[in-house]
């Protein structure tokens, strides 16, 4: 399959000398055509900078960016075959919804009747067919989100860039829009590049996820692999929750000083252990948090606190330990993931 967007050794530095801020540091990515590719990371990790470089709002300090094989560095936004859905939608407040959606076609000199026809089709695609005459200010957050989507899609971009598009929506609506975006992606078959700091969003929607940390990429993998085989402590910790154990304790448990990660849901208490739960660690319960469907138990094992998660089934609730009770934690050897140290050396 063709490569839609390719970064080779791209850096974006601000300032100079000792105060240089490395917003993006030597990043290489190849996003395939038709892929749902997510860029995941905390704020300031470089994911949005990456998106801005693809859109053309910013230029790289060094490196090459190719969009469908064509060098993009230096090209202005209006000459690129990509369209962006902005974080706060950036709808034009003085135009009605239909004119907003038709804008991209209008500036290309397409006749007004044709513009409006295609804009109406785009609005239908996002289930807002009757809203053309309204002003953006009269719409709810979710509706504005859809208008922004229609406004980008009407141009039939080969790559759609989405900058935390669901960040301003409440939880229910966000989940619904996730489903719709995923369906839309399958229907249109174009490349989606999706920036988010929400790991759940990235995992549930993407074909592949790139995890950013301090301007560098820690790992690029499909969601399942990212979760089950995190390469670094940062990824293990940022994607889902993980117990990352290092140093002497790692030596004691695994026989090697190399840090490893174990997911809370893979840890059980001794009474529930089956024969393959070969790793055993003694500790003392310090906290129990109730989360509805699950409970989180924090256990002090000396220098480290391990978190484990149990489903609140009748059986599990009956034998929930008490605070300051001494228990033994068990997990299968196979679920332990050996970690490399992070690229920034923080773990």
């Amino acid at each position: 399959m063709a490569i839609a967007v390719e970064f080779s050794a791209v850096s974006r530095h601000y300032g100079a000398g000792i105060e240089t801020v490395r917003a993006l540091d030597d990043v290489s990515i190849a996003v395939e055509e038709g892929e749902f590719f997510s860029m995941l990371g905390p704020s300031g990790s470089g994911k949005t900078t990456c998106l801005r470089l693809i859109a053309g709002f910013d230029q790289p300090s060094s490196g090459n960016i190719r969009i469908f094989g064509k060098e993009a560095a230096g090209a202005p936004p209006y000459e690129r075959e990509v369209n962006t859905v902005f974080q706060d939608y950036a709808l034009f407040p003085h135009m009605n919804v239909l004119d907003n959606v038709a804008y991209g076609l209008m500036v290309k000199g397409i006749a007004q009747s044709e513009c409006h026809k295609r804009a109406e089709q785009a609005l239908e695609l996002v289930a807002l067919a009757d809203y053309g005459k309204r002003k953006p200010g009269e719409l709810s957050g979710g509706q504005r989100q859809r208008v922004a989507l229609a406004r980008a899609l009407v141009n039939q971009p080969r790559v759609l860039l989405l900058d935390e598009p669901l960040g301003a929506l409440d939880l229910k609506l966000r989940e619904q829009m996730q489903m719709e975006l995923k369906t839309l992606h399958q229907k249109l078959g174009i490349t989606f590049i999706y920036v988010t700091h929400d790991q759940g969003e990235a995992l549930s929607m993407s074909d592949r996820v790139a995890v950013f940390n301090r301007g560098r990429i820690e790992q690029i993998d499909p969601p399942r692999k990212l979760y089950t085989q995190p390469r670094t402590g940062f990824v293990a910790d940022f994607v889902g929750t993980a117990n990352v154990v290092s140093g002497d304790l790692a030596q004691q448990i695994s026989g090697s000083r190399q840090p490893f990660s174990i997911r809370p849901e893979h840890i059980v208490i001794e009474s529930d252990a089956s024969p393959n739960h070969t790793v055993k660690v003694a500790g003392r319960v310090v906290d129990i948090q109730y989360h509805g469907a699950t409970s989180k138990i924090e256990v002090d094992i000396g220098k480290h606190t391990l978190a484990m998660v149990v489903s609140n089934t009748e059986h599990a609730e009956a034998q929930l330990p008490e605070i300051s009770q001494s228990i033994t934690l068990c997990w299968p050897q196979s679920r332990m993931v050996m970690l490399e140290t992070s690229s920034d050396g923080s773990r």
């Binding site: 209006y78 902005f86 034009f92 804008y103 500036v107 406004r151 141009n155």
Partner: protein, 319 residues
């Protein structure tokens, strides 16, 4: 025995504190009373001093002036308004209106790029510098500035001096030959008057435009570019419509200030009265208050018309 006076004193303190608290709590609960107390003085001031005097003025414009006895009588008449349309008076109105339009257009054309640079490109320090630089001329006396310009524009002044040394004096003289704009010298030409008006009112145009520009989020401009609009298209379709209310606000200042001014027309430019001079003359030496009042109404009507046209052109759609 000794504690008795102390405790009664304490009681008194408690009592005043209690009353204070009662008042505070009542005001907190009855919001309207609080607002009324807060707003009555400024509203009275605004109502009586601003609107009251304005209506008194309007009312007086219908009084009768007896040119024979040079006295004003409170008999109502439309005579003053009719006389506004007499050739000499209409001439004055059109002369003032023409200058106000020219000054407003020039101020917008000069002010927009400056405001644009201030908001879009200037660093924080540069913005501060520009802000002070724009405001600075307003800190000095208007009269002093107007007189200073008479010196600058005079034949012994710095402008003539520069033109002479650049060998451009013939060009200047050629420009001054143009009817309507020119005159014997810069100081007595309409061009000179126009330059001074534009100079004096420019800050009133820059500041509202700058405020409007600052309110346009930069991601709207990015979105426009992202959707394929070239910079000129983004300016025409997005930036300008969103900033237009600011331009209109600024132009109301330059327009109405020019319409009402009577000092610059006295000091600079050719003879021929402006609305402001006419009001000054009528109420001063002649004592024809009713006609002066009618003349004062003219700028107000013109600005109403201007606003109606601006609204029709969609100037306030983005608000």
């Amino acid at each position: 025995m000794q504690s008795a006076p102390a405790s009664s004193c304490l009681q008194a303190v408690n009592k005043t504190a209690g009353i204070k608290r009662w008042i505070a709590n009542t005001l907190y609960r009855k919001n309207t009373v609080f607002l009324l107390l807060l707003l009555t003085p400024p509203l009275l001031w605004f109502g009586v001093v601003y609107l009251g005097s304005l209506f008194a003025l309007l009312w007086q414009s219908f009084y009768t002036f007896d040119s024979f006895s040079m006295s004003v009588s409170p008999d109502l008449t439309l005579e003053n308004y009719r006389s506004l349309f007499e050739a000499t008076n209409l001439d004055i109105i059109l002369r003032t209106l023409g200058m106000a339009i020219a000054v407003t257009l020039a101020a917008a054309l000069i002010g927009f790029p400056i405001a644009y640079y201030m908001t879009r490109y200037g660093s924080r320090a540069e913005q501060g510098f520009f802000y002070v630089a724009v405001m600075l001329p307003m800190w000095s006396s208007y009269i002093v500035k107007a007189y200073a310009w008479t010196v600058i524009l005079s034949q012994q002044g710095v402008l003539y001096w520069s033109f002479r040394h650049l060998g451009l004096l013939p060009v200047l003289n050629e420009i001054l030959q143009i009817p309507g704009i020119g005159g014997n010298t810069l100081a007595t030409s309409n061009l000179g008057r126009f330059i001074v008006f534009t100079y004096i009112w420019l800050p009133f145009m820059i500041l509202p435009i700058q405020a409007a520009l600052e309110r346009v989020p930069s991601n709207l401009l990015q979105a426009s570019a992202d959707l394929g609009a070239k910079p000129a298209q983004t300016f025409r379709n997005i930036l300008f419509p969103l900033v237009f209310p600011g331009v209109v606000a600024g132009s109301i200042f330059t327009f109405s200030l020019t319409l009402g001014d009577y000092i610059i027309p006295q000091l600079i430019g050719p003879s021929g009265l402006y609305i402001g001079n006419m009001v000054y003359t009528m109420q001063g030496s002649i004592g024809n208050m009713p006609l002066a009042a009618a003349f004062t109404v003219v700028p107000m009507v013109l600005i109403f018309i201007y606003l109606a046209l601006a609204k029709r052109a969609g100037a306030f759609d983005a608000l």
